[in-house]
Symmetry: none
Subunit: 215 residues, 2 copies
DNA sequence: TCTGAAGTAAAACGGATGTTCTCTTTAGCC
DNA sequence: GGCTAAAGAGAACATCCGTTTTACTTCAGA
C-alpha cells in the first residue's frame, strides 16, 4: 500500500488532479492530464496513473472515461477538495504607520480572505492587510483594498514590496529596483515619479502577492 | 431560470445522479443514466438533461464525457463540498472594444479565477475579464488586472459598472450616478474628472464585483 | 377534431478516450 | 562496456459516448 517516493511527474499529476477536480466537478481524461502536465504521450500518463493506483493514491475504473478517483487520506470523506487558499487579514496599513505584527492577533475569529489559486507560494505564511486612506493611490491601491503579502526579506528587482522607510517613518507599497548603490522605489502608476532611497533606510517587510478590491 | 414542475422522469434522473455521484466520485454517462433510470433511448436522456439544465438543476459541459455537474442545494451524500467560487476568464477588455460574449468561448481550457467568498452574488453567472492596456488607469485598474463582473442591467447609484458608450464605441469601468436626466460616470480616482453622458448612449454590461491583481 | 408542443424511440455519426503495442531512452549496477 | 528494469515516445485500435436526425406518440387547448 505505502510505497516509495513519488516521482516529480507523479506529484505533478496528483496536483493537477486536485486542481481539475476543484474547477470542474468531474475528473479529467488521460489527455487532459497529458496537456495539463505537459506530458508527451498518453501512454506515459497511463503508466504513471498505474503507479499512482498501486501506491494507493488514486483508484481507477477500467475502460471508463474519467474513471479516476482521488483517494488520499488527508482529504477523505466530505473534504475531498483542496482547501481554499485563505489568508488572515491582520489589520490595516496606512502610510506613516508600521506594519502590524501578527503575533498578538487572536487566532480565532480572524477575518480571512480567499486568494487566487495561482498564488503558488507558501500560503501558510501569507497574510493580508486592509488599506486605510488613499496614500497608496500612486500604486493603484485605494482605500479599502486588501493587499496580500508574502513575508520575505529578499525580493527580485521589479517586484512590488511593502517597504518601511525608517527616516520617513512611513510604510509604502512600491516596485523595488536596485540601482548602483541605491534603491529605486517605483510607483505602479507610470505617471508618478519614483523615490530614491539609501539601502540602509529601507526595510523590506514582504512581497505584495496580490491586491483584491471588493465593490 | 426558475421553471415549472419537474416531470417524474426528471426527478428520477436527479435522484440517480445523486446516488451515482455518491457511489463513484465521477458523474455518469448518458447511457449510465439510461440504464439506471430504465429509459428507452439515449436521446430521451439527452432531452431531459437539457430540461434540467435550463431549469438550473445541473450544468453540462458540451462534448465532454460525463460532463454533468449537480447544482443547487439538494446535492446529497458525499457531494456536499463547498463549491469554490470560481469564475471563468472569458477574455480581455480594453477601451474601444466591446465586452466579449461568452457563448462562443470553448468550454475546455477556460482559465478561471477564484474570487473572495464575500461575493455572495450568483456566482454561476459571473465572469471575469483581463484588462488590456492602461486605459482604465483612472479607475485604479492596471494592465493585466482581472475584473470580476456580475452581468446585471440594473445597478444602484454609486456602483462600479462596465459601461459601453455607444457613440464613443468604448468600454469603460466607472462609478455610475443618475443626475437629473443624465448619467454621471465617475472615475474611481478622485483626482480625475467625471464624464457626463446621455442615458441613451450608455449601455450597462454589468456590475464590477471585484478587481484582482496578481503580482 | 385539429394542431402544435412536449415527450419518446431507434439508429447512426463522429469525435473522445482508455488501452495496447512496439520501439527508444535513461539510470543504476556488475 | 553490457545487462536489466524503469520510464518515455508515438502510433494505432476498439470502444465509449455525446449528439443529431428522423419518425412516432401523447396530450392539452382552440
Amino acid at each position: 500500500m505505502v510505497s516509495k517516493r513519488l516521482s516529480e511527474k507523479q506529484q505533478r499529476i496528483l496536483g493537477f488532479l486536485q486542481n481539475f477536480l476543484s474547477e470542474h466537478h468531474f475528473p479529467p481524461t488521460v489527455r487532459d492530464i497529458q496537456r495539463g502536465c505537459d506530458i508527451s504521450s498518453t501512454s506515459v500518463v497511463d503508466y504513471n496513473l498505474q503507479v499512482l493506483q498501486k501506491s494507493g493514491h488514486i483508484r481507477r475504473s477500467p475502460d471508463i472515461s474519467r474513471g479516476i478517483e482521488l483517494l488520499g487520506q488527508e482529504r477523505g470523506g466530505l473534504l475531498r477538495f483542496p482547501s481554499p487558499r485563505r489568508v488572515p487579514i491582520l489589520g490595516a496599513i496606512a502610510a506613516g504607520q508600521p506594519i502590524p505584527v501578527f503575533d498578538d492577533v487572536p487566532v480565532e475569529d480572524r477575518e480571512t480572505v480567499e486568494v487566487p489559486q495561482s498564488l503558488a507560494g507558501n500560503t501558510n505564511q501569507m497574510f493580508a492587510l486592509r488599506v486605510r486612506g488613499q496614500s497608496m493611490i500612486d500604486a493603484l491601491i485605494d482605500d479599502g483594498d486588501i493587499v496580500v503579502i508574502e513575508p520575505v526579506t529578499r525580493v527580485r528587482d521589479g517586484e512590488m514590496v511593502a517597504a518601511w522607510l525608517k527616516n520617513e517613518q512611513e510604510t509604502t507599497l512600491k516596485k523595488l529596483y536596485r540601482e548602483n548603490g541605491r534603491i529605486r522605489l517605483q510607483p505602479a502608476n507610470r505617471t508618478m515619479q519614483p523615490i530614491y532611497a539609501d539601502p540602509n533606510n529601507v526595510e523590506i517587510k514582504g512581497r505584495v502577492a496580490a491586491v483584491i478590491r471588493n465593490m
